[in-house]
Point group: C2
Chain length 330, copies 2
């Protein structure tokens, strides 16, 4: 069986997908039974898969290039959360019969835009027909640098909890797309929507956290939910201060007095920032790293005994305890 060579799909592959594989000799132009990848560092491969369905994970009329870029970036975010750098990816696409070739072309243009940004190449795939909605899955492969992989289970009691960038923008962008915040300035609205549509996986940060962070996760399900995953895996609790959660100016404008205690910030997903824990002694090195990467790294709380995530107000009182199972956003 295998990639890309069912009758009638040859042309589609040759025209749109094969160019995405041109830079990687091991992809063999997507024409062989499998790809052969020569890995840089002996023996350490990091691999993840993500799936998306039209009508479930994105509106069917979303711009195809943005669908492609989001699918790829979401997987690269997973690699970053493990401390790995993306290297190559495979794509499986179940395409509705009679899909417009323009859609495929635009989808591939999105991938072509992102490949050089992230240094990744398509190395294989499979396209099949479906009677249902467009269904995509992407397998991303990455390599570790000098350090070991970062896991969710590595947090220690007393660790500071950090997040990169700003939190809540994507969830607010989704709400803005739905018509919320009608009085928001156009540039703030555009910023938030863009953060929802085109995540910025922290690919430069992840590999640099090796040796500094004890645990890491990317914020996809929501700040409290993903911190809950770290707590569960590490068998610890966590307390974060809502007021310390970093917000973009656009998010502040949208939220007004509600600020970081908003569910959009604490529970909204799709930010694809990294959350990590590190001991106090790493604070200086992390501050230097933030300067080096021109990326905010903000301590927002601490790993504790017990279980579950507690969110504290400015007076240090618990406003929420999400319980041992972590927060669930649907």
């Amino acid at each position: 069986m295998a990639g890309w060579r069912r009758a009638g799909e040859f042309e589609l592959i040759a025209r749109h997908f094969a160019p995405l594989a041109a830079a990687e000799p091991g992809a063999i132009g997507l024409l062989d039974d499998a790809a052969v990848l020569a890995l840089g560092r002996a023996g350490a491969l990091v691999v993840t898969v993500d799936a998306m369905v039209a009508g479930v994970h994105f509106p069917p009329d979303d711009p195809p290039d943005l669908v492609a870029r989001k699918l790829l970036r979401v997987s690269l975010s997973d690699l970053a959360a493990m401390g790995a750098q993306g290297r190559a990816y495979l794509l499986a696409a179940a395409l509705p019969r009679g899909i417009d070739e323009d859609w495929v072309a635009a989808f591939c243009r999105g991938l072509a835009t992102d490949q050089p940004i992230f240094g990744v190449t398509l190395v294989g795939g499979d396209t099949v027909a479906t009677d249902g909605p467009l269904t995509l899955s992407l397998t991303a492969m990455g390599e570790l640098g000098e350090g070991d992989a970062l896991h969710r289970a590595g947090a220690r009691e007393g660790d500071d909890i950090y997040v990169s960038g700003t939190i809540g923008d994507a969830a607010l962008g989704l709400k803005a797309l739905g018509g919320a915040y009608p009085d928001l300035a156009p540039e703030d609205r555009a910023f938030l929507i863009d953060r929802y549509r085109v995540p910025r996986p922290r690919v430069a940060l992840g590999p640099r956290l090796a040796g500094l962070a004890h645990a890491a996760v990317d914020i996809s399900d929501g700040l409290v939910a993903d911190l809950g995953h770290v707590c569960a895996a590490s068998r610890l609790g966590a307390a974060i201060e809502a007021a310390r959660v970093p917000l973009s100016s656009a998010a502040r404008a949208a939220l007004g007095a509600e600020g970081a205690a908003s569910p959009a910030v604490l529970s909204g997903g799709d930010d694809y920032e990294l959350l990590f824990t590190a001991e106090r002694a790493a604070a200086e090195a992390l501050a230097a790293l933030a300067v080096d990467l021109a990326l905010m790294l903000t301590p927002i709380g601490r790993m504790t005994g017990g279980r579950g995530v507690t969110v504290l107000d400015p007076a240090g009182l618990a406003v929420k305890n999400m319980g041992a199972g972590g927060y669930r956003h649907f």
Copy 2:
């Protein structure tokens, strides 16, 4: 985002999928952002992805364990055709809302049956909901042994063309499932149907062909079609003798006088035998390998100049020339 951890799916994963990952520490119980795979041989990873849609690639009421085993085996066949040994796989599943958990359980039992047979382990995945048909994709990763990877493009003029096992069984099994060959003995019918439903990827053969074969492909699209792929990639032609194509006794019983010239043999797909080319000097080593593996390796023709696949009758006359583009079976 990433594997297996959306709210509501935790239990499904913990109950059915996580046990499949238990043997591989790098899978981290399917609970982290990605898996970390320690590879045996520095720097050589072989990777492929295959997708299947219910109602397109298998009837929705097919036994789920057989669907799982076929999906896995088809990918392992791709690895074998590259000379690689399967090591691990990732699964993406778009599940119709309200799917019976029994279906998932049976599907995973199928994977659990095959994992020890092939020495592979689930290392990651993603399950998502869909409003459409069940859609599966499986990414298989393998390692090369001492030899280099086998490619389709390596055939040389004058090479003998070999196939493993017997050809046409799967296509005949599919026809038998549809009611063909009513007079066939029950054991022959069962044999053919089983060959259609549960492919035997030639995982022991593939890695042993390194250094012996010049080119290899697995027979998924059909004998002539896949040989056509080798011809196209190697910029050569091929002539095979229909009478030399090896048939099982069940296939002979089904085909009667028609024999190997039947379209079911020449053009039927899904056999997942290996087709490879080797120079005449390798014949003795290949005969010894066949004995060692208890697997027929049958020369059926030769790589030639020109283009396309020619099928010869016993008198050496061309009965078919499939043209430079290879045969297309739908």
